[in-house]
Amino acid sequence: MIATRPFNWDASDAADEALYAANAGNPALFDADGNRKKLDPANSDHKDLIDEWFRLYAKHGGEVEDPNVPPEDPPDKPVKPCEDDELILVGLTEWIKDVKIVNGVPVVKKVEADDPMQDRRQYINGRLADFEDGDHSNYGRRLQVTAQVRWKSGKKSDLAGHSIHFRFEPFPGNRENLPAELQHSNLFESEDELSTDAKGFTSQAKFELSQYGGDRFRIRATLKTGGTGELVSGVFTAWRRVPFTVDTMDNADGTDRATHLLGQRVVTTFARNYVELVGPTRDDLHPIYKNVMHSDDDENYVFDNSLTKDPDGLGFVFADLVASNPEDEDANFPAAKYVVRKRWVPKVGFLAMPPYRRIASATWKHFSGKWATFPLDNISAMGHSNGFDVNIHFDLSGVKGLNPKRRVKVKLKIQVFQSLGGFQNHDGWLFVASRHYGGGHIEQNYVDSICIHEAGHAFGVAAENTPEGTKNGHVMDWAGHCSNGDKSCIMYKSSANASDFCYVCSDMLRARDLKSLPLEWDAPYSKSGET
């Protein structure tokens, strides 16, 4: 090997340093005082060192060539021997359509995308221009590639009309028996062969990945006429990418009321099912990218409708307590406003065991009188150790119109709340409790399980039907809970002991495209014809 001009002096310096470092103490390179000696091409002791130097020079970016390859022909030799030329398949290029809005008008142009020879995740739920990073090629189920040929001699003519066969190869282990609209496909109009044009390019070969997280594919292009050669693309793996935001509940003084946030186990659990959670994606004044759920008074925390998230993503809201009032017709909270109540302590006696009860109102009357309001401040309740029996004490002093010498009837309205770990509101907002209604903090591991469970609902599991379209025999109720494995699935109604999806829910999750969230448990796996 020998260097070509112009020399790369940076590579030369690097080669020097490497060579002398590797040959410390070598008398061919160092004198008796340890000073370096220059390499000398006329010195036979330096021959191997010079060869090594040129290898290092090349390694550090210098250009080299083999000086023995070029022939000894003079520049004016008019007759050149004929060479057998060869057609070579040189590469695959991926093209996508890039839609930009110019002066309010959508303009579509073809854009060269990422190198299809590299492995990558293909986010099958993505659409063009969905993400700001401008990297569009790995979004969507569709792949579009062209192949290129050239002559080995560099000849520019006779490049048209050569056939290249394309094959879209699924890997062993891909999901079988998917319905047609979820399967992978070639999108050729005719046979799987395309011909080259005058510049050596084929038209676009189009393929579609399956809609199943974890399925893998690659493209094989084979030259059929005029030469030999085969190219194999990188591996395309079907994934779904879902952005999320994080909101937390603050006290009125700005301190955090929520004590937990999204744990890494949530991210890794969904990654095992080929869902890449990306976020938090919001940036605001808080240092860890959280928006804030404000309190309107000391008791009620009202969901602020100005909070925003990606319309097709998830919004995790970490609250203090989460409870539902079964008396409300819509126990899952109306869409416009959500109230997450903190427990009413210490105003009235708190009854510690679930279901949680509160004295909502009290009225009193004398025997033949009319019912009147009995002030709640005059009632105190003491719970027994079993949590259910209660002694209630009524302080009759100061109640206007009440004659303590006469018999008094008091009617209590008891409000019962069901404590929840979390819920989703069908707009992609997921509420997660930090504390039990009974008082103690919920452990981080269980908070993570709540996040996974609620996100599972938003992703359409446990689904009514399997990907094949048969009924899911493990679904418990209309809310999309799973009874598989004796409560061991994280989508069980009460998921205290479960940490992961069962194999049935995992299968359904992997078959969801997750394009438009949230999904209902009975949502179909695809709209017919949509990719």
């Binding site: 112009p6 030369s12 000696k37 022909d73 008019p78």
Partner: protein, 119 residues
């Protein structure tokens, strides 16, 4: 098969040589944009022709090696190898025991190792 007479062969030889000058000039322009800035196409072709003549005199005859000789003219000046500072190159080019290829290889190695301060 058609046979050519000497005159016809000479025409083809001149054509091939002119083609070589032009192609080498383009190659030099691409790889040495700074050094060739002051040259027009004709001047560059003449530089290559000069490299050919001087190379021939030193036993450097192949198209590949004449191209490398032309690089020397570009990098070391049009007086190469006759300038005052070109003694190191003359010692090599006038060595009757070396082939033209070996001479041009040696010049590159001397430039890489001897032409700079001790590393």
């Amino acid at each position: 098969m058609m046979r050519l007479n000497q005159d016809q062969f000479d025409v083809f030889r001149d054509f091939a040589r002119a083609n070589f000058y032009k192609k080498t000039a383009c190659d030099l322009t691409e790889r040495f944009p700074v050094e060739t800035r002051a040259f027009d196409d004709l001047q560059l072709a003449e530089l290559v022709a000069t490299a050919g003549d001087r190379g021939q005199a030193c036993g450097v005859t192949s198209a590949y090696d004449i191209r490398r000789f032309a690089e020397c003219l570009l990098v070391h000046g049009m007086t190469f190898p006759d300038g005052e500072t070109h003694g190191w190159a003359r010692d090599v080019l006038e060595n009757g025991k070396m082939t033209g290829r070996a001479k041009m290889n040696m010049l590159i190695q001397l430039e890489c190792f001897q032409g700079r301060p001790t590393p």
